[in-house]
Structures are given as C-alpha cells and as structure tokens.
C-alpha cells in the first residue's frame, strides 16, 4: 500500500492491463452477484452480450435512439444560440446581469424534472414537450457559463478593439465571443449531460418514442438485458459528448485549465 503511491506512475502497458483487469473483475462481480442473489430476469453481462447485436440492429431500437439523440441535439442547439446571446449580454452589461441574474440562477438550481407536469400541461404529451425539457435543462448552464466567460475577457483585448474604433457588435462577435469560448465549452459539456437526463426523464413521463421509453417498456416486461443495452447506449452518448468537448478544449484552448470551470 505504501509503495504504491511512492512509485513512479505505472507504465502505459501496465496501466492498460490494470484497467482491463479491473473491468473483468467488475463484470465478474456483477455476473456472480446477479446469479447468486437476483431473480433470473435481472440484467447481467452474459445476458447483455447475447442480446447486444439483435437489439442494436433492430429498427425500433434504432428509431428510439435516433429520436432521443435528435431531441438532445436540437435542444442543445436552441439552448446554445439563446444561451450565447443572453449570456454575453449578462457578462458585458452590468444592468442586464443584475436584472436577470436571480432568475437565471434560480432556474439553473431548480431540478428540471419538477416542471414536467407543467410542461405537459402547456404542450401536451408530445415531442415538443420533450424538446422543451431538453432546452430547459441545457439553457441555464450554457448562459451562466457564457456570462462568466464574457466577464473574464482580458481588458487588453477590449482595449485593442477600442483603439481600432470597432463598433460594439464587432467587439462582441469578434472579441468577446471567441475569448469566452473555453467557458462556453465547459457550459456545453454540463448542458449536454443535463439535456440527456432531461430527455430520458421526459420520455418516462410522456412516453414518446425514445430510449427512455424503450428502457421503461422493456424493463416493465422483464426484458432487463435488452433495456440495459439502452442504458449502455445512453452512457456511450454521454461519454462520447464529454470526450468530444474535452478534445476540442484541449486541442484549441490548451491554456484553459479545467478546474477553473465555475459551474
């Protein structure tokens, strides 16, 4: 135990072996504990492997995955466009910031699942209700992070703009927006996770076609292995998006330290 910390970090090969080994141990623990203590319908690795390909190639599953992914992507895009505008306005204008900050923060802190009954009241049990949930889930973290980014623009940058007599819109689009991109990316990463959760919970609530509904129906009819494939795909989407945003941040904003992420 003592040597483990003090040794230099394990070499790559050793660390990959270690990770794979840990994965095998975790899978084995899952498999054994389900076989020993759980009813036969409970998902376990060997069962999931057997249904993996049939589920992944079935039309209903693909349609469900496309529906959820589409709603999340569309919601993120809307939240991004609206969030950038409001966030930059908050970051660069004291008046705007003070007038709406409380609302933005309160709606950010509010658990989005709580408004599902209200959203269905307004929009019915429709695709639109799911889209509204994803937008709502994503919007506030994007806007608040964009605001932090716009506030943190180095004043030298703005002075250059002023020296060249750049009009206000050009300063905002040409200087403030690019300079706040790293913050915005951190906001997008968080927003994507929240939008995914929002989409799944909305599907549970309103039963429109999607991965959440697929998981719900299959687990209700005791097809837990099939349902678990849905969970894995959702996790893959979450992981993939996070990896993408992290890659963009590292590739284009290498100076940006991750633990400066304010929210």
């Amino acid at each position: 135990m003592t040597e483990a910390v003090e040794r230099a970090p394990p070499r790559l090969v050793a660390s990959v072996t270690l990770k794979l080994l840990a994965g095998l141990v975790l899978l084995a623990l899952w498999e054994i504990s389900v076989r020993l203590w759980a009813p036969a319908y409970v998902a376990r690795p060997s069962g999931i492997v057997l249904v993996l390909l049939p589920v992944l190639s079935s039309t209903p599953f693909l349609r469900a995955a496309a529906a959820t992914l589409g709603a999340v992507a569309e919601g993120l895009l809307i939240a991004l466009l609206a969030g950038i505008v409001v966030g930059i306005a908050m970051g660069r204008s004291f008046v705007v910031d003070r007038v709406i900050r409380f609302y933005m923060f309160a709606l950010f802190a509010m658990p989005m699942v709580a408004i599902l009954p209200l959203i269905t009241l307004w929009l019915g049990y429709t695709d639109g209700a799911r889209l509204a949930t994803t937008v709502f889930a994503a919007y506030f973290s994007i806007a608040l992070n964009a605001a932090d980014g716009a506030r943190a623009v180095p004043s030298e940058y703005l002075e250059v703009g002023a020296a060249f007599r750049a009009p206000r819109t050009r300063v905002l689009v040409g200087i403030v927006l690019p300079a706040s991109l790293p913050y915005l990316l951190a906001g997008i990463r968080l927003a994507a996770a929240r939008a995914l959760i929002g989409a799944v919970l909305a599907e549970f609530f309103i039963s429109v076609d999607g991965l959440g509904t697929y998981i719900l129906y299959n687990s209700r009819s005791y097809h837990h292995n099939e349902a678990m494939v849905g969970v894995l795909v959702l996790a893959g989407i979450g992981m993939g998006f996070e990896a993408l945003v992290n890659w963009v941040t590292r590739r284009y904003f290498p100076w940006y330290r991750r633990d400066e992420t304010p929210r």
């Binding site: 135990m1 483990a4 910390v5 003090e6 040794r7 970090p9 394990p10 270690l18 990770k19 080994l21 840990a22 994965g23 975790l26 759980a38 009813p39 409970v42 998902a43 003070r98 007038v99 709406i100 900050r101 409380f102 923060f105 309160a106 709606l107 802190a109 509010m110 658990p111 989005m112 699942v113 709580a114 408004i115 599902l116 009954p117 209200l118 009241l121 996770a193 959760i197 799944v200 919970l201 549970f204 609530f205 991965l211 959440g212 998981i215 719900l216 687990s219 209700r220 005791y222 349902a227 678990m228 849905g230 969970v231 959702l234 996790a235 992981m239 996070e242 633990d259 400066e260 304010p262």
Partner: protein, 251 residues
C-alpha cells in the same frame, strides 16, 4: 454606490418579473397559468393545512438520506483511491463512465427489482449523487503530487499524519466541488424518485395538483422547490468557497 445600484436593479428585475407573471396570469386560461398572487395564496393554503410541511419533510428526509449515504460512500472511497495509486488507475475510467451515464435511465430497473418503498427511492438519490462526489475526489487524487507524499515520508511521517496533513487537506476541496454538484443532482434524483417510484413528498404534491388541474398548486410547489434548490446550492457554493483559497484558486 455600485452596490446599491446593483441591488436596486435586482429589485427592479424581481418586481418586473412578478408584475409580468401577475399580468400574464390574469390574461390566460387558468389551466395554463394563474397569477402570482393566486399561486402564493394557494401555497399559503397548502401550508396552513399542513399538507405542504408533511410533503417537504418527507422530501428532505429522502434527499438527506440519499445524499448522506453518497457522502459516506463516495468520500472514503475517493480517499482510498487517492492513497492507493494502482486502485485509482484501475478504476478511474469506470468512474468517469458511470459519472457520464444518465442514472435516470436506471429508475425503471430499480422499480421492477425493488418495487415501492423508501429504500428504492434512496437508492435513486444515492446513484444520482455519488458519482460527482467520487469523480471529483478522484480528480483531486490525480492532481496530488507524489512529491508531496515523498516529502512527508522523508520527514518520517506516519500513516496518520500523512492522511491528516497531506491527503485530507489536498483532496477535500475537490470532494467539496463534488458535493456541490451532488446537491444539484440529488435534488433531481429526489423529484424523479417521487415521480416515478412510489409517489411521495413534494413530487407527489405536484402530480396530485396537476391531475386535479390545480395550476396554482403546481406553480406554488415548483416555486418552493426552486427556492429549496437555490438555498441548497448556495450552501454548496459557500462550503466550496471556504476552501477555494486553500486549494489555490482565486474565485
């Protein structure tokens, strides 16, 4: 001066919002929106009848139990991963994976395996909250420089002293960042559990009101949950800020 100006603007914003809500509520069908005054009156009514407090207490109990268990599991496990490097290398990828998994998707499984009752709901809150805690603690462990441990060792520091003087001070601020995130997620988990598992607490109150087309009730309880969320998140921020200086971040 700027301070008063700022407060003035915030007050202006709140007043404008309240007025807008009031006006919009009076000009739409009550099935969609009711005025703020009516919402608040309904909230007071729910409070007088005691219904609101019973629901709030039940929700808070669920929240606190789930979050408490998440801390009891996440932080010691995170610290252990900080101390034993090979364990961290082995598990950190899986923790990141689980942190990115929308735990909401596991609710149907929990429902069909564990059924109704308090325990499955606690499990939902725990699952929502534990991974941000664990993930951030591991991030802290990852940035713990081996040199620090070496220096402590070369001064013949014992295991106890090593934990007290190096590990805890270094990793706890990260754990607190995780705690702040866990608060927000646990709140979502709480309402989700109350909606989709056995109905209880504030979640049940919202659904009851929605089913009886009591828009004022729905809006009132959502308002209360929002204030609860703000208060809890402020608490998390305050805790995090207390140690942010220590961690070396100017925030």
């Amino acid at each position: 001066m700027t301070r008063w100006y700022g407060w003035g603007l915030t007050t202006l914003g709140l007043t404008a919002g309240a007025t807008l809500w009031e006006i919009a509520g009076r000009h739409t069908s009550p099935a969609f929106l009711v005025p703020l005054s009516e919402t608040l009156a309904r909230l007071v009514e729910l409070g007088r009848s005691g219904e609101l407090w019973v629901a709030l207490l039940s929700s808070l109990l669920l929240f606190a139990t789930g979050l408490g268990l998440a801390v009891l599991i996440g932080v010691p496990l995170g610290l252990l991963l900080a101390r034993i490097q090979s364990l961290r290398v082995a598990l950190e990828g899986y923790i990141a994976f689980l942190n990115a998994t929308p735990m909401a998707a596991l609710i149907p499984f929990i429902l069909s395996i564990m059924g109704f009752g308090f325990a499955p709901k606690v499990l939902v809150v725990l699952l929502f909250a534990v991974f941000p805690l664990l993930y951030n603690t591991v991030e802290g462990a990852r940035s713990l420089k081996p040199e620090l441990v070496e220096v402590a060792r070369s001064f013949r520091s014992g295991e106890m002293a090593l934990w007290r003087d190096v590990l805890l001070p270094f990793v706890l601020p990260f754990a607190l960042t995780g705690f702040r995130q866990a608060i927000g997620r646990a709140l979502v988990g709480m309402v989700a559990a109350e909606f989709f598992l056995s109905a209880s607490g504030l979640g049940m109150l919202i659904q009851q009101d929605a089913n009886s087309s009591d828009t004022a009730g729905v809006l009132g309880v959502i308002l209360l949950i929002t204030l609860l969320g703000v208060a809890l998140m402020e608490l998390g921020n305050a805790l995090e800020h207390r140690v942010a200086v220590w961690r070396g971040l100017r925030r």
